[in-house]
């Protein structure tokens, strides 16, 4: 669904159209959830996605439609993730152990499993700013300009963060020969 349609749904939802609100959530929830899987972690992504919508829909009355609704929503999700990480750092808990056989979110075709796990771990290990820019542009599919609006930073910053994230990933995956898939047999 394109941005103009999502924005139109958000405006109808703002004016009290619950059906449009439902369509708005249905059209965007997968992307919000994926972003939160990467910005926070999979175990809390669902809870944080719910929190994102509660905040966004609750403040929808003040949404003017000046920015595309999808970017606006993703910036709320970004803030929810940041708040979550801040809360968690205040009362430290031991993070869920990342097992080597941890399946990537939802599972993957057999042969690509190891690669998917390796890529996911490498993405998770990126510096947070780089990871955010990388996930917004590669996983969510935003343009650099849209990602810059979500992060409230210059486009050049997104551009260099994405490039550095790519360089980090190339290095990280080259350093892990043990995780290369064994295709023989």
């Amino acid at each position: 669904m394109d941005d103009a349609r999502i924005t139109a749904l958000a405006l109808r939802a703002r004016d009290g159209d619950r059906g449009a609100a439902g369509e708005f959530v249905a059209a965007t929830q997968h992307q919000v959830w994926r972003l939160l899987v990467h910005l926070a972690d999979p175990s809390v992504a669902e809870e944080l996605t719910q929190e994102t919508y509660e905040r966004a829909l609750g403040s929808l009355r003040r949404y003017r439609g000046d920015a595309p609704a999808r970017s606006w929503l993703l910036s709320v999700a970004r803030r929810v993730a940041a708040d979550h990480l801040r809360r968690r750092s205040r009362r430290p808990v031991s993070p869920a152990p990342l097992a080597e056989d941890d399946r990537p979110v939802g599972g993957a075709p057999r042969g690509d499993l190891a690669e998917s796990v390796a890529v996911r771990h490498a993405v998770d290990a990126l510096d947070p700013d780089r990871r955010e820019a990388f996930v917004l542009t590669q996983v969510i599919g935003l343009s650099y300009e849209e990602a810059a609006a979500v992060c409230r930073c210059p486009i050049g910053t997104i551009r260099s963060r994405v490039a550095r994230a790519r360089a980090d990933l190339v290095d990280a995956l080259a350093d892990r020969p043990a995780e290369r898939p064994h295709r023989s047999g």
């Binding site: 941005d3 619950r18 669902e46 919508y53 009355r61 920015a67 998917s116 551009r159 995956l173």
Partner: protein, 259 residues
């Protein structure tokens, strides 16, 4: 992941672009964010730099893996969160508050006009014995009448162009607060008839309805907009070439908008 290995990023003085700069440009090119001139510089650098050629292949491979990574369907939260959206009543609440405000504005304007006419006829009839701060009774009455008329116009304008209503409320709130105290004192001292005080309730009604309209949210297109809404310095036109209006992807209002 089969990537070739570590690639040290060095400087390539021969082509005037260092490897770091080239890799940033290649990264942008992978995302379709590099222009032709940049692409030409990349090609020039790649011609003489095997490490960057190899990096380009690896970066493309990594990108493909990330973009095509299998993901499960996320949770379906529609039923759980949809209640947080504004209720269906907000629309007619906003509309009826605006209609009420327009009616109150009309009433207030009529009150103002009546007192203006009354004041004008009385002014001829008497010579004013009381002068307070340079104004006779007649002039003070003129001032009051003008003010009442202006408030009526402001209510009517606010009902039509809701964007400008919020600015009116602090002025009106202060006016009502002071007037309430003074009216109370005057009533006790018998300096005013109750009927006159009751007419002030129109103002209170206008204030409350204005508050309701403002709280029912912004409505684009309800009147002449400040220029900044359509044109921002450094921003772009909101109207796309190909028809439907497209909101400019520039920073939006305020941090508080998203609470």
């Amino acid at each position: 992941m089969r990537v070739a290995g570590n690639h040290g990023a060095g400087r390539d003085d021969q082509h005037g672009v260092d490897c770091d700069g080239c890799r940033e440009a290649m990264s942008a090119a992978l995302d379709g964010e590099a222009d032709a001139a940049e692409q030409a510089r990349i090609d020039a650098h790649l011609g003489g730099c095997a490490a960057c050629r190899s990096w380009q292949r690896d970066a493309a491979l990594v990108t493909r893996h990330v973009r095509t990574a299998a993901v499960g369907a996320g949770p379906d939260l529609v039923d759980r969160v949809v209640d947080a959206a504004p209720a269906a009543s907000v629309r007619w609440r906003g509309v009826s508050a605006r209609a009420g405000l327009a009616a109150v504005g009309l009433a207030q304007a009529v009150l103002g006009l009546v007192s203006l006419l009354g004041a004008a006829t009385h002014a001829h009839a008497m010579t004013d014995p009381f002068m307070v701060l340079g104004a006779g009774m007649a002039h003070a009455t003129h001032e009051t009448a003008a003010w009442n008329l202006a408030l009526g116009v402001a209510f009517l304008g606010g009902a039509l162009f809701t964007r400008h209503l919020a600015g009116l409320l602090p002025v009106l709130g202060a006016f009502i607060a002071v007037l309430a105290v003074l009216s109370g004192l005057d009533l006790v001292a018998g300096r005013v008839e109750p009927g006159r005080v009751v007419s002030h309730l129109v103002l209170v009604a206008g204030f409350l309805l204005g508050l309701a309209v403002v709280r029912s949210g912004p409505r684009p297109g309800t009147g002449p907009s400040p220029g900044a809404r359509w044109w921002r310095p450094g921003g772009r036109s909101v109207v796309a070439d190909d028809g439907p209006t497209r909101p400019a992807p520039t920073p939006w209002e305020r941090e508080s908008d998203v609470a």
